[in-house]
């Protein structure tokens, strides 16, 4: 069976959940091989093996941190040329998508981005994507070369399937430094105590109706009561009430959790594009005509400053 290359998203060997999802999907297509750039291979080996990586290709070179995206392109392209994989899977984010596109161009291959599912088909991997603000679903396949596919978080549940990985150091010829974009500084987004937005099973988001940065504490209380992540609409982010890294929507983060609770969010198309594939949607909004109610499995027309605190009390009462 051919190998399937999976780019590992990690910090110093601590592997993020979307990588485990990619490994789970990769098993449907062939034998998963993890590609780990930067330091941390020792830390990551156990986790990657538990999720079925038969091989771990390690590229630990200073270029990986010093330049943006192109070292990933150099590494994955060269490893693909050495291993002739059945597919290459990367996480869907700005970095993953840009790297994927350049790898596909260099390998004379096709590319599919933002897959929400990948299965094995007669002509190679078949992908499912959401389109037009998640109002449509598209199945597609690559028709040329090694399929390069970026996959969105939460595409599948990570399933362990233990393997004993072989760790192989790979030497990579990096393009001339002059072709690179220098990274002057890198600030990892703080994880905090809450789950990450893209990975969370439950997301509680606040919008214009939250009416102030200080009031987001209330949204956080609900998120904490439910064990969820905090999101925000573009209006709330533009107003400076909550950080952009929490923005849910077309140009922010697109989430697909089990439960999405929208508080004080009207549900403009730009927001719906980022959340309407959530399994269950509930909404609290003053305006009975807010479009968010069209999507809601359960909606409360009311003042979020009364409903949310009472909801927290009710959750705590039911739990105790």
């Amino acid at each position: 069976m051919a190998e399937v290359l999976v780019l590992v998203d990690h910090t110093d060997g601590v592997v993020r959940k979307p990588t485990l999802e990619l490994l789970t999907l990769a098993r449907r297509l062939g034998e998963p091989s993890a590609v780990l750039l930067g330091p941390g291979a020792d830390t990551a080996t156990e986790t990657l093996g538990r999720f079925s990586a038969r091989k771990i290709y390690v590229v630990d070179a200073p270029e990986v941190d010093e330049y943006l995206v192109t070292p990933v392109v150099d590494a994955l392209t060269q490893i693909a040329e050495r291993t002739d994989p059945a597919a290459i899977l990367l996480p869907s984010g700005p970095d993953g998508k840009e790297a994927a596109a350049r790898i596909a161009l260099r390998l004379d291959s096709g590319l599919i981005t933002d897959a929400v599912d990948v299965t094995a088909g007669p002509q190679g991997p078949v992908t499912e994507q959401s389109a037009f603000a998640a109002t449509h679903q598209v199945t597609a396949h690559v028709t040329r070369g090694v399929p390069v596919i970026t996959v969105k978080p939460n595409a599948t549940a990570p399933e362990p399937a233990p393997a004993e990985p072989v760790v192989e150091k790979q030497d990579i010829v990096f393009g001339p430094a002059s072709a690179g974009v220098r990274v002057l500084s890198r600030t990892r987004r703080e994880r905090g105590d809450r789950p990450e937005l893209t990975e969370a099973d439950i997301v509680v988001s606040g919008g214009r109706g939250v009416n102030g940065a200080e009031n987001f504490a209330l949204v956080e209380r609900v998120a904490d009561a439910l064990g969820g992540a905090v999101g925000a609409s573009r209006a709330a982010v533009d107003a400076g009430w909550y950080p952009h890294s929490h923005q849910v929507g077309q140009t922010g983060t697109q989430v697909s959790p089990q439960l999405y609770l929208a508080a004080g969010i009207s549900g403009a198309i730009q927001h719906r594009a980022g959340m309407q594939t959530s399994r269950t949607i509930v909404a609290v909004n003053k305006d009975p005509d807010a479009p968010i109610f069209e999507l809601a499995d359960h909606g409360v027309v009311g003042d979020l400053f009364e409903v949310l605190p009472a909801l927290v009390d009710e959750i705590e009462r039911r739990r105790s």
Partner: protein, 259 residues
């Protein structure tokens, strides 16, 4: 400095968009306009031009006849000239075909800086800037929410995967900017009138030395098997809060096993 801004004429993102039988974006059923996300690239180009009298701003689009409207809108915001690549063989191009046409037109025109939006509002892949950089053999300083061009160098802040990075690259370069890079200006009446007199060049594949087989459906590297409308979500129970709203919501969350 020569700036080329790539712009796309897209179906209105607030309208009810759909696919053709062939699995491509249906451009006939809804009105199209300049992609909102490209307006931010236009804005950044104009800001650079305002601080440097020697800067020339040109717009470039690939698309059928009405794609010209996107160029006119951009010219109404400001800038000097526009290029429209229009050839029926381009229809059905994927990001590889589109980036090939764009790259050839950019090379033909000459450039120091190529500016793009972060993604189109219809395809939403966000990979054309990276593909352009790869094809042109220049740096990709992409996905910037803050951008400065000084002394032949582009510096900016990027919200990447899991981290915020400050990045820097020398010109020539391809730069893409996000919707947080700065509000785009509205065209003034004077701008709209002036736009009608600005030069707009039309090119076809032959002008760019490209063959039909390299682009369009023929050159595409992926195929759509099906494109269907998701069944609309069933609207659930909407209750007006008269004191019991929170309890009702909690009861619902309990039946769904979230509590």
């Amino acid at each position: 400095m020569k700036i080329v801004v790539c712009v796309k004429h897209v179906p209105d993102a607030t309208a009810d968009r759909t696919f053709t039988q062939g699995g491509t974006t249906d451009r006939a059923s809804v009105d199209s306009l300049l992609s909102e996300l490209d307006e931010y690239a236009v804005e950044q180009a104009l800001r650079i031009a305002e601080s440097d009298a020697d800067t020339e701003v040109s717009y470039l689009t690939v698309g059928p006849d009405d794609a010209r409207d996107a160029l006119r809108k951009a010219l109404a915001m400001g800038g000097d000239s526009a290029i429209h690549v229009n050839d029926e063989d381009i229809e059905g191009s994927d990001a590889f075909g589109t980036s090939l046409v764009l790259a050839r037109a950019i090379e033909r025109h000459g450039f120091d800086l190529v500016l793009c939006g972060m993604a189109s509002t219809d395809g939403t892949m966000g990979v054309v800037p990276a593909l352009l950089a790869e094809r042109l053999g220049v740096r990709a300083v992409t996905h910037l929410e803050e951008v400065a061009v000084e002394d032949g160098t582009v510096t900016g802040r990027r919200e990447g995967d899991g981290a915020t990075v400050r990045i820097q690259g020398d010109l020539p370069a391809v730069v893409s900017v996000t919707d947080r890079s700065g509000d785009a200006r509205y065209p003034s009446f004077k701008g709209i009138m002036a736009a009608k007199k600005k030069p707009l060049e039309t090119l076809d594949l032959a002008d760019l030395g490209l063959e039909a087989a390299q682009v369009g459906r023929a050159g595409a590297r992926s195929a759509v098997d099906s494109a269907t409308r998701r069944p609309p979500r069933t609207k659930g129970e909407i209750v007006v809060d008269e004191g019991a709203g929170a309890a009702g919501l909690a009861a619902f969350l309990t039946t769904q096993k979230f509590i």
